[in-house]
Amino acid sequence: MTGFPLISLLTLVPFIGAVLVIGIDPERRKLARWLALGFSFAGLALALVLWGRFDSASGSLQLEERHLWIPTLGVQYHVGVDGLGLLMVLLSAIVVPMAMLASWNIEDRVPIYFSLVLFLQAGLFGTFTALNFFHWFIFWELSLIPAFFLIKLWGGPLRAPAATQFFIYTMAGSVALLLVFLALFLAAGTFDFLQLADLGRKGALIPLLSAKLGWHDLTTRGLALALFAGAFFGFAVKVPLMPFHTWLPAAYTEAPTGTTMLLTGLMSKMGVYGFLRILLPIFPGEVHRMLTPLLWLTVITIICSASAAFAQRDLKRMLAYSSINHLGYCLLGLLAVMSSSRMAAVPAVEKAAALNGVFLQMFNHGLTAATLFWFVGCLEARSGGARGLHDFGGLRKVAPVFCGLMGIALFSSLGLPGLNGFIGEFLIFKGAFPLVTWATALSVIGLLVTAIFILTILQRVFHGPLNERWSRLPDLTLVERFTVLPAIGLMFVLGIYPQALLGVINSTVVRMVEQLTF
């Protein structure tokens, strides 16, 4: 516990960077870009150091720092990472520099833009490492506000309503979360996630609620359910789960490409992370009781979002819906874990498989979706804003490297074995099938429709006769190739050698499965 405060430093570095960059003269764009990129790489380096210090064999929280902050409220500054937190920190550290490189061509108010991205990164690092609600919530909001301004100031033509809806919707979720945690604080007297989870696991939360808290003539169970519903809403908006997703297509479409990468790659993971870190440990009984309706929502999310993606004519909107679909699999996996409380050996294996799959899927989707949006951003920059499904055709002829690499990313999104997407989906389906058979079987439809619309993209954009409008479309430049090749390489590595990540997260998963009892 004593020792170098690595995690605090990790969060601090992008924060300092943000403060420095925002002070740069707006005309000195190059300096702002390079400085911001440097800080994001420093973040990456620190995340790698964190990985190096991390003991994969132990599933418990590590590198913890705990300091008293506001003693009267029982607020502590408490941070630490386990496999899940580390995975998310690594993902953030990888995606943020990519997003910065994707934003390289922004010319308007450059220092502010890059400073906001760094603020967002600080918020993300803080969210993924905080273990006390008090500062966790500050970071949670800190990541939301820069995202709002990024969409609002640098977005597409319809950015204003998109940004407003995004902000208000997620804000409503945050308010719900805040209220829930105030109620929990009144009942349990602590904001600490670990202590709350402990109470939730032992079933002690409900007696506490009945002793300390009453609201009109709601029964205690009803109250617990209401609290669960509030927290669920807060996270479901972020994931998003249908029907709380309507902010997403507009926000993803209107945001500048770099911001969309952050939104889809990282901020959607905050929702799933919240499920895993907060909702399931604190409210296991409630999740179990509401399992059937939640599974229905998940299945509807998976199928309808894939189908809706197929109906889109705008590449960004297609990928936005596809994002909803992919995160639906995460929810399927984590709900499957809550389907049975028996601690026999067989369900434990299946639960571990599903949960490992969820972790992998989070990472893989973050990587793949961010890369795909990067490609669409490239296309948009070259075509002067055109990004309709039918605007192109035959691009393979003029831009073979672009099409080849984007094809790899698309097939990764489709879940082709050998690339990263497959392992996560396979493990989720493997674990979920015996636990929640019907929901898993129905979810397969989502996989099929995903294949259909991804191949439609390939067919319409890359294949067919060359659209003469784009006969001079340049292929990827050398810099662009070096930007995207690490991501593509990672897709192959994780598809062929998934143990690289599973080794990091497996102990955490095993421990989580043991602890998720009710």
């Binding site: 294996v349 035959g394 493990l427 397969v444 259909i452 067919q459 067919g464 143990q499 599973l502």
Partner: protein, 710 residues
């Protein structure tokens, strides 16, 4: 354990490395790309032969000998639990050995052939990269000792099939065909995925053979059979059927056969390698690989396992269905495509009714003669300048003697011409086992009818292409597409066959090699010396010429000979006797029965039915999801936002008109009141005194009044 068993992974790895390297090559490094691909294939063939020899050296005594290596892939749960890790592995058994040699040999011949066929293509390098990738995936499927590894390679093969069908991606038809192929097979693959995770959850392993713990071994199968699931079906049956769905997709069985004929949009060597000889046979191989699972539950009083019955029926129906369609096609490659579908149906029926050896024997012989036919077709198309319509050909035997001779061998083998050709023996075996099937005789009757049709349509095709006289020459100037041929056109340019020529040696030598195989292979599986079958079953083959003379065998051989010869005779009588002279003339069948001909020519309208149902439903569903999203969910959110805005507006009204206005009024009242009051304090002393006087008077009066009253 043999060295080759340890190093079996090299066989798929070599083409994989070749593919990876040639992906990095520049477009103009053509020789290097071809050398890499062919070199890797030669080495893979050498290793496969070593594997084959190794398998030969371990003859089983009534049971199959399997050697393999399993390795750890990743851990996904408590390390103390042995089920919480994924293991992969490879296995060498007679089935793998035979398939390895077949795929590498046929593959190598087709690679060499492609040197000539693709010589003028701009993307020559890319072509060999994809071919090598395909070979890697296909060989991986063969050696996999884990359903998961098999599935991974299976999907890789599907991907390369997609890439190669759409190789000429600038053609919209090729792009569409590639997509159709991938999605149709994906439907089957997803069922396979479900079957796989089900199997995994039931047995805790996906390794086929693992020293008694594998999912195809006795203890796991016994558990699966004992489990019953919905509809009273054993878990083994459910899993087997889901896995079979994967095979249906890949092997183009009804109802997922629609992609295979369209796949002919790819270059002809691709059609030969992937869509005739190897990949489409992977479905048959899969069934053969998981045969213990398919047959599980068998033996309860001699009853045939439900899964195997399904396999047999699907195969039997597909065989006749596709063969009848083939009889009315005019695109030279599509005829062969439907023929492939039909022959794959024969193999499935063989597996279902007679077991692994029966189906696999036909797979191997078919791979050789169908590859031969496709390469012959490629040679014809090449010689005729990309002409694919058989009505515009004719009399080619004068111009292309080698192609004709080898094609004739392939055609006779496919038709099952008696005694000399391999197709006869392998088909005979299938008919024999179908005849002895205890469930129903219909697969046998369908098989006989299918054999008749096969002989008929092949004769028709050969008559059209090689006999008579060249038909397009007369109509050089007539470039109008023939009636009904627009959909089958593959090349946009249509120059007709003016200058028909024999193909170069690099293309004809592979034909000769395959033709030899198409003849010789039959002799390793005759009833007199069933070496092939015994090898697969792990037994020692015995030469027993007497078996040929057994009445049952003899009767069946005679029957199938009669059927084949009458089919060919019918074809000759209709098409060969008086060859067509005008490419625009109606087909003989069309003149006789236009309704039936149209039905067959339009492939029983299956594509149209799918378009009207599945595809229309899918796009309708997608649009309604989108609509639902825009209007219902988004509408709900908008309503909430309007409600909030309305509430704020009410609030404002209340503020402005109630709170603010009231406050303002109050203030004004106070001011006005103050003004009024201030007037009272005018400062005039007389006034004050006057008021005081009056008030005093009033007070006195009041007091007096008060006293009086009390």
């Amino acid at each position: 354990m043999d060295w080759i068993v340890q190093k079996l992974w090299l066989i798929p790895a070599l083409p994989l490395v070749a593919a990876g390297l040639s992906a990095l090559l520049k477009q103009r490094q053509r020789r290097l790309a071809a050398a890499l691909a062919i070199g890797a294939m030669v080495l893979a063939l050498a290793l496969s032969c070593m594997a084959f020899v190794s398998a030969l050296q371990h003859p089983g005594q009534g049971s199959v000998v399997r050697q393999g290596v399993n390795f750890f892939w990743f851990q996904f749960g408590d390390p103390r639990n042995s089920d919480a890790a994924v293991w992969l592995g490879w296995v060498l058994d007679p089935l793998t050995a035979v398939m390895l040699v077949m795929v590498t040999l046929v593959g190598l011949l087709i690679f060499i052939y492609s040197l000539g066929y693709m010589a003028h293509d701009d993307n020559f390098t890319r072509f060999f990269c994809f071919l090598s990738l395909f070979a890697a995936g296909m060989l991986g499927v063969l050696i996999a000792n884990s359903l998961l590894l098999l599935f991974i390679c299976w999907e890789l093969v599907g991907l390369t099939s997609y890439l190669l069908i759409g190789f000429w991606y600038h053609k919209p038809s090729a792009a569409a065909a590639a997509k159709k192929a991938f999605i149709t097979t994906r439907i089957g693959d997803l069922a396979l995925l479900l079957g796989m995770v089900w199997l995994y959850s039931q047995t805790g392993t996906l390794l086929f053979y693992d020293g008694g713990h594998g999912c195809l071994e006795q203890s796991a199968l016994a558990r699966l059979v004992a489990q019953t699931t919905t509809l009273g079906m054993a878990a083994s049956t459910g899993i087997a059927l889901l896995i079979f769905c994967g095979a249906i997709g890949k092997s183009g069985q009804v109802p997922l056969h629609v992609w295979l004929p369209d796949a002919m949009e790819g270059p002809t060597p691709v059609s030969a390698l992937i869509h005739a000889a190897t990949m489409v046979a992977a479905g048959v191989f899969l069934v053969a690989r998981v045969y213990p699972l398919m047959a599980a539950g068998d033996g309860g009083g001699g009853a045939v396992a439900a899964a195997l019955q399904v396999v047999a029926w699907v195969g039997a129906i597909t065989a006749v269905f596709a063969a009848s369609i083939a009889a009315a096609q005019t695109d030279i490659k599509r005829i062969l495509a439907y023929s492939t579908v039909s022959q794959l149906g024969f193999m499935m029926r063989g597996l279902g009714t007679g077991g692994v050896a029966v189906g696999m024997f036909h797979l191997i012989t078919h791979a050789c003669f169908k590859a031969l036919l496709f390469l012959g077709t490629g040679s014809v198309i090449h010689g005729c300048h990309e002409e694919q319509d058989i009505r515009r050909m004719g009399g080619l035997r004068q111009f292309m003697p080698i192609t004709f001779a080898t094609y004739a061998v392939g055609m006779l083998a496919l038709s099952g011409f008696p005694l000399v050709f391999s197709g006869f023996w392998s088909k005979d075996e299938i008919l024999h086992s179908a005849h002895g099937w205890s469930v129903s005789h219909w697969p046998f009757y369908l098989g006989v009818f299918g054999a008749l049709l096969t002989a008929f349509y092949m004769t028709r095709q050969v008559c059209y292409v090689f006999f008579g006289s060249l038909r397009s020459r007369r109509r050089e100037e007539d470039l109008i597409p023939l009636p009904g041929s627009t959909e089958t056109k593959s090349e946009p340019t249509h120059v007709g066959c003016y200058d028909v020529h024999e193909s170069p040696a690099v293309m004809t030598w592979p034909l000769v090699g395959l033709a030899l195989l198409a003849i010789l292979l039959g002799f390793v599986g005759t009833p007199a010396w069933p070496w092939f079958q015994d090898f697969l079953n792990g037994e020692r083959a015995v030469l027993a010429p007497g078996k040929l003379a057994e009445p049952a065998t003899l009767w069946l051989m005679a029957l199938s000979s009669v059927v084949v010869i009458s089919g060919m005779g019918l074809g000759w009588w209709l098409y060969g006797r008086k060859p067509q002279t005008d490419p625009g003339a109606l087909d003989v069948l069309e003149r006789a029965r236009p309704d039936i001909y149209a039905l067959l020519r339009r492939k029983y309208f299956v594509d149209e039915v799918y378009d009207a149902t599945v595809i229309r439903f899918n796009s309708w569903w997608a649009r309604s999801c989108d609509w639902w999203d825009d209007w219902v969910w988004n509408g709900a959110v908008q309503l909430v936002s309007y409600a909030v805005v309305g509430l704020s507006w009410l609030n404002r009204v209340f503020d402005e008109y109630v709170v603010n206005l009231g406050f303002d009024r109050g203030c004004r009242g106070l001011t006005e009141g103050g003004g009024l009051m201030s007037r009272l304090q005018g400062g005039g002393v007389q006034g004050y005194l006057r008021v005081i006087g009056v008030a005093l008077g009033v007070l006195v009066l009041l007091l007096l009044w008060g006293c009086h009253a009390s």
